[in-house]
């Protein structure tokens, strides 16, 4: 059908009049300009969104800073909003978040340490020692692990980790240790899968080079391959850190809630995120402003991390281009210096350098130990996954009947309705915008231009903003400022901002995979650029768009922090419309969070956890299979193409 149309277009312009053809051309180019502007506007959305988030959160923090005082707020050690209510003249006394900043940092760094070690070493195992058959399964498991909603980790922490810690230490079990373990489990898959990709992209020739110089496999891996993958691994660590510092709901469930400095690893604490999650629901006046200001501090921290990430990526690009970046140079100097110090130290203590055989064996042994360490670590990670899934299934399955009877089944129905409605609305808003933005980035922009780079940077930045900050933003802008109050639409708009970066990236990747020859063929037949994009390129990119949609659904199903203050957590009635008072709703995940938080109906929370786990498994295993299937098909095609040549 499209072919016929193209022929018509070709036959239309009269061949004899040059004036006429010129006119047609101008018309065409103006049309390109017009659609380009629309696509460009969509692409700019991520910049606008980041700017809006920063501006609105900042503006709403200003009252807090002016009444409390910036330094009193950041370095104040007492958080006691109720005290302010009885003594409103002394605002600066009652709103200090310094303990929360410290707690956030402690929890983040500790979980990064554990999660980093577990993630990187299990990635090493996966890439270099895992038997081929097991590899695919483990990769799928990592994907599922990464897709499990954070609330589920928090829930697992609450019902499994905290009681164990409590028994072991004789405390409540809530606190830094519990938060650390929960966050560790949560960021581990991110770090593992990014490290895995980084290791996989290190050229095989480095490995051969090291082996040919006499390195053992272990030595080659730990002295050449891992250092060569450094920037990718560091990116993974930074992303994991961003997730850890921004996580609100999971932390809230196991932190304990006391706004004080930690007295140890097992005393209850409160982080910046959990503070917002705890009080935002009912706060008003200065307390609300102070919570938003807390969000601003968090946002600044995350933006800083994103900036670091961008720098690491730039250094990576420079490394690949063979240029030494500034950071790299500094690094080299530091390394040279530390080697010097070690050398001088050894000299001073008269350490003689043993040479050749004995040391070479010993050095090989260190790498060998690291290898077995990676085995142990992977086994431990696998055990964690088994325990999480097993514990939830064992406790959840017997409770399934409770979920489908009495009051619960009605609430389940409402939560399912809320989830489905939210998914539908969010996709309707975000997918077209994301596709248009991706079309601009790949089909219309000048590749590598400054605008494109900026859009990409802001896209990544938007992707790194913590959910709880999105929640604050949605609450400020959609719920209050636009007067929607908590409703489906406010939730969907917030959620759309969250999934936009994912959609843009997935669609863009699928556009990249469409061969240029198709575009040229279409243009050569006389189709306009717009026609080419919509009739030739997009149909080819459909699998990628589908992937983007499925990924987004996974994200929406798992989300909680961004929804509680925008869409609400009410299961009192079924919403009659999508916007306005009385149309608040609740998703399955939020429902589970509310139950776990109240601690009232744990049997139903367990049963919900099983259902969520099932949904996540279906989504991510399905996605993995889809990819696997697609790849196989591609391979087979390639093989068929090559075969006749060699035969």
């Amino acid at each position: 059908m499209s072919l016929c149309e193209n022929e018509q277009v070709v036959s239309e312009p009269p061949a004899d009049s040059s004036k006429n053809t010129k006119l047609v051309k101008q018309k065409g180019s103006r049309k390109i300009q017009f659609e380009k502007h629309i696509f460009f506007a969509c692409a700019l959305l991520s910049i606008v969104a980041v700017a809006a988030i920063v501006i609105f959160i900042f503006i709403n923090s200003v009252p807090a800073f002016s009444k409390i005082g910036f330094f009193q707020f950041i370095f104040g050690t007492k958080w006691f909003p109720d005290g302010y209510k009885t003594d409103p003249s002394n605002a600066s006394e009652y709103f200090g978040i310094f303990p929360m900043i410290i707690n956030s940092l402690c929890v983040t760094l500790l979980s990064l340490l554990f999660g980093g070690i577990l993630g990187v070493f299990s990635a090493l195992f996966l890439v270099y020692w895992c038997p081929a058959k097991m590899k695919k399964i483990v990769e799928q498991l990592i994907n599922v692990f990464a897709g499990i909603p954070s609330v589920m980790y928090g829930f697992f922490g609450l019902v499994f980790i905290v009681p164990i810690l409590a028994k072991m230490t004789g405390t409540t079990g809530l606190g830094i240790m519990a938060c650390t373990l929960v966050l560790m489990l949560m960021i581990l898959p991110t770090i593992a899968s990014m490290s895995k990709n980084a290791l996989k992209s290190v050229p095989e020739s480095y490995y051969e080079g090291a082996i040919a110089l006499g390195a053992t496999k272990e030595q080659a891996i730990f002295t050449v391959m891992l250092p060569a993958a450094k920037s990718g691994v560091v990116s993974g660590l930074i992303m994991g850190m961003g997730r850890a510092v921004g996580e609100a709901m999971a932390v809230k469930l196991v932190a304990g809630g006391v706004a004080a400095f930690p007295e140890g690893l097992f005393s209850p604490i409160r982080t910046m995120t959990s503070s917002i999650a705890m009080e935002m629901g009912y706060a008003s006046g200065l307390q609300r402003d102070a919570l938003i200001a807390t969000g601003l501090i968090l946002l600044v921290f995350v933006l800083f991390l994103n900036f670091a990430l961008a720098r690491v990526n730039r250094a990576k690009a420079a490394d690949n281009g063979g240029r030494t970046s500034k950071a790299g140079k500094a690094n080299e100097n530091v390394k040279g210096f530390s080697a010097e110090v070690v050398y001088i130290g050894r000299r001073m203590f008269g350490v003689k350098e043993p040479i050749a055989e004995p040391v070479y064996k010993k050095k090989g042994i260190i790498c060998l130990i690291l290898k077995y360490f990676s085995f142990v670590v992977t086994a431990f990670v696998g055990l964690c996954l088994v325990v999480i899934v097993g514990f939830i299934l064992v406790n959840g399955l017997p409770n399934m009947p409770d979920l489908f009877s009495g009051d619960a089944v009605g609430e389940l129905g409402k939560a399912i309705f809320g989830t489905v409605a939210l998914i539908f609305l969010t996709l309707v808003i975000a997918v077209p915008l994301g596709i248009c933005a991706a079309i601009y980035l790949h089909e219309y922009s000048r590749p590598g231009s400054r605008t494109v780079k900026a859009i990409r940077l802001f896209n990544d930045t938007l992707g790194g903003v913590p959910s709880i900050v999105f929640g604050l933003f949605g609450n400020i802008v959609f719920v209050s400022w636009m007067g929607m109050s908590q409703c489906l639409l406010a939730g969907a708009l917030t959620m759309a901002l969250i999934i936009l970066p994912t959609v843009i990236r997935a669609v863009e990747e699928s556009l990249i995979a469409v061969p240029d020859s198709l575009r040229e063929a279409s243009l050569a037949l006389g189709a306009s650029k717009l026609q080419t994009v919509f009739k030739v390129v997009l149909p080819q990119a459909l699998p990628g768009i589908f992937t983007a949609i499925v990924l987004s659904i996974g994200r929406i199903v798992g989300e909680s922090a961004a929804l509680i203050f925008t869409m609400g957590s009410s299961l009192a009635f079924l919403p009659q419309g999508i916007v306005g008072r009385g149309n608040a709703s609740c998703t399955l995940t939020v429902y589970m969070y509310v139950l776990a938080n109240e601690g009232a109906e744990m049997n139903i929370a367990y049963a919900l956890a099983v259902i969520l786990l099932l949904i996540v498994a279906v989504i991510y295993v399905g996605l993995g299979l889809l990819e696997h299937f697609g790849k196989n098909k591609g391979d087979r095609k390639c093989k068929e193409k090559i075969k006749p040549k060699t035969a």
């Binding site: 040919a212 006499g214 390195a215 080299e332 040279g336 040479i355 055989e357 004995p358």
Partner: protein
């Protein structure tokens, strides 16, 4: 002389009891066969490579030159499904026999690849890689090894001010000579080179050819090349391969002036299909 220098610095040639490189014959290949799964890639090859000579492997593409070369430092171990029969003795030791110390073998039998593959580390760290692997920690010793290796590969003057720069920033020719220096830093007795100049411009190629001449004073060189002039220029012995067999192995002068095999004649005169 430089070799003596290095011995003083303490990089020993590993287990002297294992490999004896003072023999007349550095590499002795005896009735060797190699299969990649079911594909018979090397057929009944026997040859003795003498110490201190440059030996060139020539032959059409796919005839097994690289395969044989890789068998000499057991890089073929990395290929799944590769099976070898027969015997290869290096330094008087059966390298496929029981109890072979693979790292020591590869330290003593260095290899330079077709495409330069410096590590993404500084020039210094690239060259110091093998010594560090074999236990040299002392900075002064390492400095000395780095300098000696760079001098031996005629790069010291070019690179002495860039030791801390990334090796990936060097030109292709420099990278390849750096890889030679990196191999030399392990103090090998034998150096295997698989088409080391095929990715380089004529000037860099010339430099590496000069280097070969210099190197054969201290190491036994085996080089694979597709360039007939190169083989004629730099090698003492030449082996002509065809479909996995060594058709002729003789003095280079003889092979290029008066080959005894008609196939060899056809190949070197460029009349080969």
């Amino acid at each position: 002389m430089q070799r003596k220098n290095k011995a003083e610095n303490g990089v020993t040639r590993g287990n002297a009891s294992d490999f004896d490189f003072n023999r007349e014959v550095a590499i002795s290949i005896n009735n060797m066969n190699l299969w990649y799964s079911s594909f018979h890639a090397i057929k009944n090859v026997s040859m003795d490579i003498k110490k201190g000579e440059v030996t060139a492997f020539i032959g059409p593409s796919g005839c097994g030159k690289s395969t044989l070369l890789k068998s000499l430092n057991r890089m073929n171990d990395l290929v799944p499904g590769c099976k070898i029969t027969g015997k290869i003795e290096i330094g008087g030791k059966d390298i496929y026999g029981a109890g072979v110390d693979l790292p020591m073998l590869r330290k003593n039998v260095g290899m330079v690849f077709q495409k330069p593959n410096p590590f993404p580390k500084s020039v210094y760290d690239n060259i110091a890689y093998a010594p560090r692997l074999f236990g040299v920690r002392d900075k002064a010793t390492l400095d000395n090894i780095v300098e000696t290796s760079l001098r031996r590969s005629a790069m010291w003057d070019e690179l002495k001010d860039r030791l801390n720069k990334s090796a990936l920033g060097l030109s292709g020719g420099q990278q390849q000579r750096l890889c030679i220096a990196r191999a030399l830093a392990a103090d090998p007795a034998i150096l295997l080179m698989d088409e080391p100049t095929s990715a380089l411009d004529p000037i860099s190629t010339g430099k590496i050819e000069e280097l070969c001449d210099e190197l054969k004073k201290t190491v036994t060189v085996v080089i694979v090349t597709h360039n007939m002039q190169q083989a004629a220029r730099i090698s003492d012995k030449t082996a002509f391969f065809l479909l996995g067999e060594v058709i002729e192995f003789d003095d280079t002068a003889k092979i290029f002036s008066n080959p005894s095999h008609p196939e060899t004649e056809r190949y070197i005169s460029g009349r080969f299909g």
